[in-house]
């Protein structure tokens, strides 16, 4: 997909408001030890969209997400967050990042409440005790993920699914409007998956921008407005989320829509499709 068509899409999707897109990625190249992992990716995430970056392992989807947050540096290209170049972006309280796992580190205990409250780091003033509004936001985040009863437990005593809920609550605690979640459903039992899906649905209803990195769309599929599939560090699909049964869900396939935009979403079957097997 060319930069021009991305720009057109951005114009079409951002709606009547003139707010800049939540994320604007132009020709992003990322390399680890000089081995390129992303080969010039363009991506525009309009505000309020629920978008999934899909792809098999090694497709570069996590790298793209990390580059969008400045966790990994770009070799070339640019990222803008809410209209500000990433390097100069300071309003980190608007971004809620949910990593794939809670790391145990050296095993120093921390309570659920401590971890959730640490999500407010970008909003809190230095050397101040927490204000009542801060504590209210933490309570709200704990309630939203049904964690109030565990607030005083150590996070390391919880199950993987419960820890995932803690991580989402941590992202919620700063009351951001943009969420970036890395595989929130991976390794989570069905009961916790339902709790997570409910929380993400509530965020969507509040008009939040939600960017999900997913191996497969799975139980979150009904929530997704758009799917961007990556393969070998390039965007190979951008449009409606591929059905799990559909051809484009198969890993290792280039799925090219000549017009991967709203028209394609309206009548996908009327358009010619080209399946190109891809060798990595």
């Amino acid at each position: 997909m060319t930069a021009e068509s991305v720009a057109e899409r951005a114009g079409a999707d951002s709606g009547p408001g003139s707010a800049p897109p939540a994320f604007l990625v132009r020709n992003a190249v990322v390399a680890y030890d000089r081995v390129p992992v992303l080969h010039g990716v363009d991506l525009t995430v309009p505000r309020g969209q629920v978008l999934a970056i899909l792809g098999p392992n090694g497709s570069g989807k996590s790298t793209l997400m990390k580059a969008m947050l400045g966790i990994v540096p770009l070799v070339s290209g640019s990222v803008e967050v809410h209209g500000t170049p990433l390097r100069r972006f300071r309003d980190w309280g608007r971004i809620g990042y949910v990593p794939q796992r809670l790391t145990a580190g050296g095993g120093v205990p921390a309570t659920v409440r401590e971890v959730v409250a640490s999500g407010q780091i970008a909003r809190r003033r230095r050397l101040r005790w927490s204000a009542p509004s801060d504590r209210a936001a933490v309570d709200e985040a704990l309630d939203a993920l049904d964690l109030a009863g565990m607030a005083r437990s150590s996070v390391h005593e919880l199950s993987g699914g419960q820890q995932q809920r803690v991580l989402i609550a941590r992202a919620l605690a700063a009351r951001p409007d943009t969420f970036v979640m890395d595989e929130p459903m991976a390794g989570v039992d069905s009961e916790n998956q339902r709790a997570l899906a409910a929380a993400i649905t509530a965020l969507r209803e509040r008009g939040s921008t939600i960017l999900l990195v997913l191996h497969e769309s799975g139980p979150l599929e009904p929530l997704l407005e758009r799917g961007v599939a990556l393969s070998g560090g390039r965007v190979v699909h951008d449009g409606p989320v591929p059905r799990p049964s559909g051809a484009c869900a198969r890993p290792g396939h280039d799925h090219v829509h000549p017009h991967a935009d709203a028209e394609a979403a309206a009548a996908p079957s009327a358009l010619p499709e080209f399946e190109v097997p891809r060798r990595d």
Binding site: Y32, D33, K66, L69, G70, I71, V72, P73, F89, R90, W92, I95, Y97, P99, R101, L102, T103, A104, G105, G106, G107, V108, P109, A110, T111, E114, V115, S118, I121, A122, R124, R126, L127, R152, S153, S154, V155, H156, E157, L158, S159, G160, G161, Q162, Q163, R170, V180, D189
Partner: protein
Amino acid sequence: MTEMLQYDFMQRALIAAALVGLVAPVIGVFLVQRRLALLGDGIGHVALTGVALGYLTQTSPLLLALAVSVVGAAAIELIRVRARTGGDVALALLFYGGIAGGVLLIGLAPGANSATLTGFLFGSVSSVGEEDVAVVVALAAVVLAVIGFFWRELFVLCQDEESARASGLPVRLLSLVIAVTAALTVVVSMRVVGVLMVSALMVVPVAAAQQLARSFRVTALLAMAIGLLCSLGGLTGAFYVDVAPGAAIVLLTLAVFAVAVAAGYVLRAATGRARVRADGPSPGPDDPGTVGTMPQTERGSVSR
């Protein structure tokens, strides 16, 4: 007790020991969570080079140890980020370089030999002068102030470095803050417990506290209390039994650790039983409440 306090050197030693016991676990709690528990030890070896340099140049060994160990701490951060080595390998390089540099330089210094280094290796409480106490007080105040200032940021950094970056935190700077305050702490502790035991006072009280606590804050406070009591207790015991104070302090912390492990087992078993009674019949061994966390795969290294 009063007999001990009649000696000026014991008064000075007790002040220094109390400060070390209080300060070392504060930085230790972050080092343990970052899986850099041995960083203090590595820096301690580099500090020996500084001590030797101090004797060689006929200046203050303590101040040169301070300068050299701060440089060493910064170097280890640089090695971790720039060179393709894990945190443990970077530490190993520091260990060997530091001890070799110390032994080499002390041999060149007039009127000093490797026995001089032994005082710094194992601590020599009786040689703590008034100037040393002043330096220790100042450095302890600096370390506590810096850690207090950055407390929340350091908590986020040590929980998970990627989230710290995604919160806009200056990860490199904060990593450097931890390394440099660790270096300060090592020099603070060097006179009292000796280089070889500095890391023990940073790590063992934390290891003991984390058996008993459920929150990060309580772990830190409990570790400080354990460090303080063991420092004073070890020094007092060493005075009356006439053994090496540094060794006495460290062995006391290890004893506290052993007790804490046992107490932690009993405590968890008791709360586990209480929970089962409250929740009705136990769901069995595959209770979803006790799935282990994923261990951090990259030990103490910086994500790219």
